[in-house]
Symmetry: C2
Subunit: 144 residues, 2 copies
DNA sequence: ATAGTTATGATACCTGGTATCAGTGAGACG
DNA sequence: CGTCTCACTGATACCAGGTATCATAACTAT
């Protein structure tokens, strides 16, 4: 869980300017729990212009401060990233997100590259389901 | 590669009405080669209303006549489907799409379900890369 | 032919994101 | 410090892709 300070130092190191707007966006992002949309950030950093929020989110994505979470309906959310490359398991009922420890398809990528002569440079992988607690409340509701 | 006739029969069997607009959209879809956007279909079925084209695409997706192809930038394309559930390898340079024979994560889904107590009901998996021919033309360009 | 339901499409609207560009201020350097 | 410069900002307008509404049309079972 990165701190505001360390994110700022990372930006500095890469010759990005530290502006009040950027700091506000980063603070808003770090304050989120779970996954969030750009609108959520906008709401918490009202003084910052819409375009700047989007620009800053791209920056944070490029720096791997946040990771993108693709929801089942195709909408894009973000999440403060703890590790490097990884994937998600999203509860479609409560929205809870599990980070999956390792990239499950790294081996497959190698196989595919050999089999297809493609040079593979990326992939999307997200899982959707119902977490244990959502399932049990569903079961209760069915009985009632 | 389904025929117009067989798609129509499938709709009839499920009590959907056969209308000129639907037929026009289906014909336009079946005429596409490779993957295509809804706009592509709209362009080839000008007489059909925008909303109806979107509605029909959803129908065709639900019936597994077409599959959805998620591009690297997050935009959603479609493709006439040859099989049931499968995934794609997309060339980010020329747009060529390879259907992958089997679902590479089916086993993983079972493992995840056991490990996390989630009931897993879906996933997104798409690969991006450069096909052999795009790589070789890239190499030529670099030399020149 | 009629009825009853389904489908249509014009329109307005919405979400999420980008292009533009005049104005500002961060920070390097003296 | 002062000042120069360039990266950054944010208002605005715009765009893409998709949905809600609802009066009208038309498919199909009878
Ligand atoms: Mn993550
Ligand atoms: Mn496919
Ligand atoms: Zn849940
Ligand atoms: Zn290619």
């Amino acid at each position: 869980m990165p701190e505001l300070e360390s994110v700022i130092r990372k930006l500095e190191a890469l010759d990005h300017r530290i502006t009040p707007s950027r700091v506000a966006v980063i603070a808003a992002v770090l304050a989120q729990s779970g996954h969030f949309s750009v609108e959520d950030v906008l709401r918490q950093a009202r003084a910052v212009g819409r375009a700047t929020v989007f620009r800053t989110m791209r920056l944070l994505t490029d720096l791997e401060i946040v990771c993108r979470v693709l929801l089942e309906d195709g909408s894009l959310h973000y999440r403060v990233s703890r590790r490097g490359h990884h994937h998600h398991l999203v509860c479609v009922s409560c929205g809870n997100v599990q980070d999956l420890d390792e990239c499950a398809v790294a081996g497959l990528v190698r196989e595919l590259a050999a089999a297809t002569e493609y040079e593979i440079e990326g992939h999307w992988l997200e899982f959707y389901g119902r977490c244990a607690s959502c399932r049990s409340s569903l079961a209760l509701a069915a009985k009632a």
